[in-house]
Point group: C2
Chain length 386, copies 2
């Protein structure tokens, strides 16, 4: 086990009707709130009105229309409001995109230059507004971690950023707020969670507890995602998925590990160039990546994954079992969850693969991954996704 | 899944030589430190000298000799020093007893009455000194939770207390600091961890993720405790046990559950009356409690425990499998870990069982447990332990 630091003090308030605690929880930070949200689904499902009533003692400003792959322009808009109105706290109401955008706003408020500098680490994040979140989509885990991802469409860039200052102070996790999430979003959110878990699970460092926790979370998602897709108001399924989304990426699974996040770097180039749903990109990439890296060195782990996670019967031919596991994962993503199974379906061709592969390797330091990858390797993996 | 709140912001710094970060980590709190420790093993193994060097910029006062079941008298002594010397932070160096005593000192410093009032909740904990810990024994999980247990020998009382104010600000978890822990203490510490996990695992509320996390942690302890006993300087074994001790009781396993802690309440009376090692009391009690509560209502869970945790082969006769699981647990505690297997061995007879049983039921609210227990039930369980 490698040395590690783990410090995640977000106050998680989980369960039915837990929005009612929000007014008390954020009171220490001040009266002026910037509420950030996305396309307006919270107005349709009643959450917006509910929160407005709960927060009636506060002075609330709003930034709506945050994009699915949130853009640096929204960050700028939000930071401008925060500075202009002397905002005390940012309240993100939505899924990972809204939360990530809000984190960038919290940091950008105190930075005089171009906020993109903070995302690409050209400037350090030295101060940030406090953040509270009300989660409406189980996927990215942004509700209990200190990072986010922001896109810059004009230069086809999508980059991860983070700072302990951006950890939400409080996150309200009411599974009922995900009852109206569509089949497609439930499925791609679940694929996203599984991908987060994979990033820690496929690691050169083997650790008993963290590996078994990862398997437990994967089994939970595999069990409950299809139930949530079929029965969107099944509370137990929505609750298990919501708690899984937080535990998948709050850092516990990565403790004592290298935590290299190879496939996320490969996917970020896809979303950056084509603005696709992150979870869908990950679902398409992961089984191909597994096939590509399967070798003597990775066989033990892929075999274990097949048996313990995908429930494939064990057998004498370990490689065959491992391949059956990858096939079972494909079936889960593309049949059970009914996600798009290749890039062609999304209208994506090979025209940018070379430059995307180069950027992925450089930005993600893929030479240090679970299996070291060159731009040539990554290009081949993209090709397998067509 | 029941509603829950989870908020554990302790900064865990885990791994080899991580004491070196301590001076920086505690600097925000002030210069005057009360270092609390036990019988002096940290002087023999060099940890005391190492810390003194690392903390040379600080003004350090000391309270040594904290007892294995820490007593209210030590709490009073520590609080007196804190008030007299205007201490800024308490640094606990030791195992759960030292940490628990330190937590009580942190709270008692700001309370003018008898500190026992805080333990028995006659007075609320309203303010506390910040606490840092350097862990030297993997067992109680006090390094990452907000509670503790204090004893009052003259009245045979042993009581749990807690407050979010008592959560350590930083905990240094260097598995090497447990290399010198004896076979007996390693074994009883491991039994203690398992007992913590059992308290959440045997619960009326079934939750997929938390139940599987519990099983993973139990398997980790069962795998690594015998290795640590045989090879005390095996880093991987000591590291897995150390991280297991924190994860077993930091609250994650209890999220969404009732979390009633029945058997701990029954054990506390044993330690209170006879000052025995907590983990040993729990190891003796748990298999008897399991046999006593085995019924149609609990069969599924005890059967699952047998198969998934104890590795007992499954079979058609579920009750037989469950009983085999309990037997496997007894073998693990009393043969593999070589712990005392009954109360008679410890010189304990039935003379106080009646009063102990009554106190356990009342203090632990055992009528609300996984299986409701009356004083008569608890007395019978004690009898089974003779």
């Amino acid at each position: 086990m490698k040395n590690f630091e783990f410090c995640v003090g977000t106050d998680i308030v989980f369960g039915r009707d837990t929005e009612k605690y929000l007014a008390d929880k954020i009171r220490p930070y001040g009266k002026k709130i910037l509420m950030v949200y996305g396309g307006g689904s919270i107005k349709k499902n009643g959450l917006y009105d509910k929160l407005m009533k709960i927060l009636e003692e506060y002075e609330i400003y709003e930034l709506s229309g945050v994009e699915p792959n949130p853009r640096i322009e929204s960050v700028k808009k939000g930071a401008d409001i925060c500075r202009e109105k002397n905002i005390d706290l940012v309240l993100a109401v939505g899924g990972g995109s809204t939360l990530d955008c809000s984190k960038a706003i919290c940091a950008a408020t105190f930075y005089n230059g171009d906020p993109w500098d903070l995302v690409v680490r050209k400037a350090p994040i030295e101060k940030a507004l406090p953040l509270a979140t009300v989660l409406t989509l189980s996927a990215t885990g942004s509700e209990m971690d200190a990072g986010g991802v922001i896109s810059k469409l004009d230069t086809n860039e999508k980059r991860g950023f983070g700072s302990p200052l951006l950890l939400p102070k409080v996150s309200i996790l009411n599974p009922e707020n995900t009852f109206t999430v569509s089949e497609y979003q439930t499925a791609s959110g679940s694929a996203d969670m599984m991908a987060h878990i994979f990033e820690s699970y496929f690691d050169k460092e083997k650790v008993f507890i963290q590996d078994e926790f990862a398997e437990a979370l994967l089994r939970a998602v595999i069990h409950y995602a299809p139930i949530a897709v079929k029965e969107p108001t099944n509370y137990q399924a929505r609750a298990e998925l919501m708690w899984a989304s937080s535990l998948a990426i709050n850092g516990i699974l990565g403790t004592g590990k290298n935590d290299n996040w190879t496939v996320h770097s490969i996917e970020h180039e896809l979303s950056a160039f084509y603005d696709i749903t992150h979870g869908v990109g990950l679902a398409i990439l992961y089984p191909r990546w597994m096939r590509y890296i399967l070798s003597e060195n990775t066989l033990d782990r892929l075999h274990r994954f097949a048996v313990k996670v995908m429930g494939v019967p064990d057998g004498d031919d370990k490689e065959k079992v491992a391949l059956n596991g990858i096939e079972a994962l494909e079936k889960f993503f593309f049949e059970t969850l009914n996600l798009p199974s290749n890039l062609t379906e999304l209208g994506i061709g090979r025209e940018n693969f070379k430059v995307m592969a180069e950027k992925a390797v450089q930005i993600g330091s893929l030479s240090n991954g679970y299996v070291a990858l060159t731009p040539d390797d990554v290009e081949k993996i993209y090709e397998m996704c067509l």
